[in-house]
Symmetry: none
């Protein structure tokens, strides 16, 4: 898709807002037969739906529940089955660690082992974050030849390990046996380019064991999700867009950074994000605007909170629309139905409102209504080409 698009890109003055309401889609509550989107009073989103073209996005494949990485890569135009972001990388992005090309990142857990070295608690009793910070300081004393060792605390028992240096490989097996009563596993290289890295990681783990010997319950570490930054085509160059990301949450800033967007400094609320959008309106062609509250409520299994989050989002729509974007797109990175209390596989409503978005029968922004829209049910990575077309930023294909 990206190879098809890039040669067709032409310049334009048009401005695009891609609003991603995280975990947007939901499921009906059995009592009413209505989903969160159908229950919420969202007149401004409904108006955009009525003005624009609607459909449903499928981010990976039917029945597949996307993680946040694949969900957003799809929205950004990348085939999430082709471009994978590992857990270690996502964890590093989630704390805004300045991960660089070639770095190998892993997610770490402090864990508990008994005198024989067998795991008794894979999360070390979820030690408080301040204990994690102190133990990470111990791990930072580890030095290994030819590589820089970077360790960052996350939350409770979690930390990020990054190896930085030339010639590292990220195809490594995990040390977490996923069960109690076994010792942590040695890391194995899954390709030849990762052989030396496997040896370094095993040496790190050996030293960590000694340094943590007296730190029970957090007297050992488990490492998983080893990966390097994927080598993604850069979004601004693929689409010829000065692209900015506005997101209060670090992981989404990180994902935008991975594809080469400028990440704008913003506050912690969605009102702050909209203010940031207004401030930078003249400086960019494309804005990725992220709204987290819908996902948070869905993951909490709180139907009413998700309805309320949708209504708060709706209230902010006029402020965004007042900037007169040529193309206003609203969708999400995956479903988070309250009845599932987690991510879901259900396709996600999408609307594209532009002068050229076309005659479309949909007049309400929800799962059921959007199923009848002219965009159909489409892979998420097909959205960006449609958005570009609506922005009059693509020339025709073939003579």
């Amino acid at each position: 898709m990206i190879e098809l698009i890039q040669p067709l890109v032409v310049p334009s003055e048009s401005k695009i807002v891609l609003l991603s309401s995280d975990g947007l889609a939901g499921l009906p509550r059995p009592e009413t037969g209505k989903s969160e989107m159908e229950t919420a009073r969202i007149p401004n989103l409904d108006r955009l739906a009525a003005q624009g073209a609607c459909g449903l996005l499928r981010h990976v494949a039917p029945g597949i529940t996307p993680g946040s990485g694949p969900g957003h890569l799809g929205l950004f135009g990348y085939d999430p089955l082709h471009y994978l972001v590992g857990r270690g990388v996502l964890e590093a992005l989630g704390i805004e660690f300045d991960l660089r090309a070639g770095d190998v990142a892993a997610r770490g857990n402090f864990c508990s082992v008994d005198d024989a070295g067998l795991i008794t608690d894979r999360r070390a009793g979820r030690i408080p974050t301040d204990v994690c910070v102190r133990l990470v300081d111990r791990l930072r004393t580890i030095a290994l030849p030819g590589v820089e060792i970077l360790v960052e605390p996350v939350k409770e028992h979690r930390f990020v390990l990054v190896l930085r240096g030339a010639g590292l490989g990220g195809r490594l097996s995990e040390t977490d046996p996923q069960v109690l009563g076994k010792p942590p596993l040695s890391v194995r290289a899954l390709d030849a380019a990762s052989e030396r890295t496997a040896g370094l990681v095993n040496a790190f783990v050996d030293q960590a064991r000694k340094l943590l010997a007296d730190a029970a319950p957090a007297n050992m570490v488990l490492l998983r999700g080893f990966d390097q930054l994927p080598d993604l085509p850069r979004f601004p160059e693929v689409f010829g867009l000065r692209a900015a990301a506005i997101a209060a949450y670090p992981m989404y800033r990180g994902l935008a950074k991975v594809v080469g967007m400028d990440v704008l400094k913003t506050g912690g609320t969605f009102a702050d994000e909209v203010a940031t959008l207004r401030e930078h309106w003249q400086s960019y062609d494309f804005f990725f605007l992220h709204y987290k509250d819908t996902d948070k409520a869905g993951e909490d299994g709180d139907f009413d909170a998700k309805v309320a989050a949708l209504e708060r989002l709706d209230a902010a729509i006029p402020d965004i629309d007042a900037l007169k974007p040529d193309v206003f797109v609203v969708s999400g990175d995956h479903a988070s139905p309250s009845v599932l209390a987690g991510h879901g596989w259900q396709p996600v409503p999408v609307l594209i409102r532009s002068r050229y978005s076309g005659a479309d029968p949909v007049t309400a922004f929800n799962e059921r209504a959007c199923a009848g829209g002219t965009l159909g049910i489409m892979p998420a990575q097909h959205l960006m080409p449609l958005v570009m077309a609506n922005a009059l930023r693509l020339t025709k294909f073939g003579a």
Copy 2:
């Protein structure tokens, strides 16, 4: 798809019923403008459609009419363009022949040849089945070095030839020239691994000619559709399901067996099949339940009989639903429109009813209504991942 799914499978207690109504989809009768499904009174199927998510399945590609092999492989989650089942294999499965890995199967016809050996009737005047049985006994006397020759009568002029032994190959050309006035062709090997087999088949045909010389009109044989059992990933392992097939007709039992399902003993009616389902409810996670009457009526070109078959199926739905499947799926393996009196290329209605199947506008189970459902028009092999998701048997993709 199968490679994507398998690593995501997680255990669950959920139970799945996949009801395949053979040849389900139809076409409007010109007098009323309504299809068989639109004409039939099917309140129970309509209720499932209203409760669940609907769409249309396309088993091979737009405009392509599926045979029973590709139709069912698609329903089972296998790309029917990638996994092919040859006619010889299907014919053997259709008589419940115990075909084994490595066997080469062909469909045989008795035919008529004149004194010069030129074909005068490709079906030997459709000899009665009892004549076929007697002539097959003659063919069974044929012995060839290093290979076991198995011949089974089917119906009228048709029989199945199976070669069993080490090192056989199934890539062979056909002996049927498809026109009258020519002699049967010699078999040619289409790859090196089938060279010896080609020689054996030609020797079989030479001996058959001599053995049948006095048996006019069935004084010669034609062989086509040579193939071996495909090497399919096993359904129970791919999807982590204890899977059972319940089908009164041998070919569908055979197709289920090819993918590794347990084939349950059942009676000749759909009521018998439902009783079998009830008996084995605790022992399996997944039931493939096959209903043949819709296809039979469609292939007969009998619109009213197909309507009646649909109404009989509908009457059995409450008994199935009383078992409380977590996921209840209804679809078919292909269309059999009465106006075509045969298989058709039209997409086939599908419904998935589960607690998580989602907000969907469809309230009737027929071709026209399902076109507006949230499942869209999707390749049949995407159904199983969706079913697995609805059964909460898949974890998310990517971090």
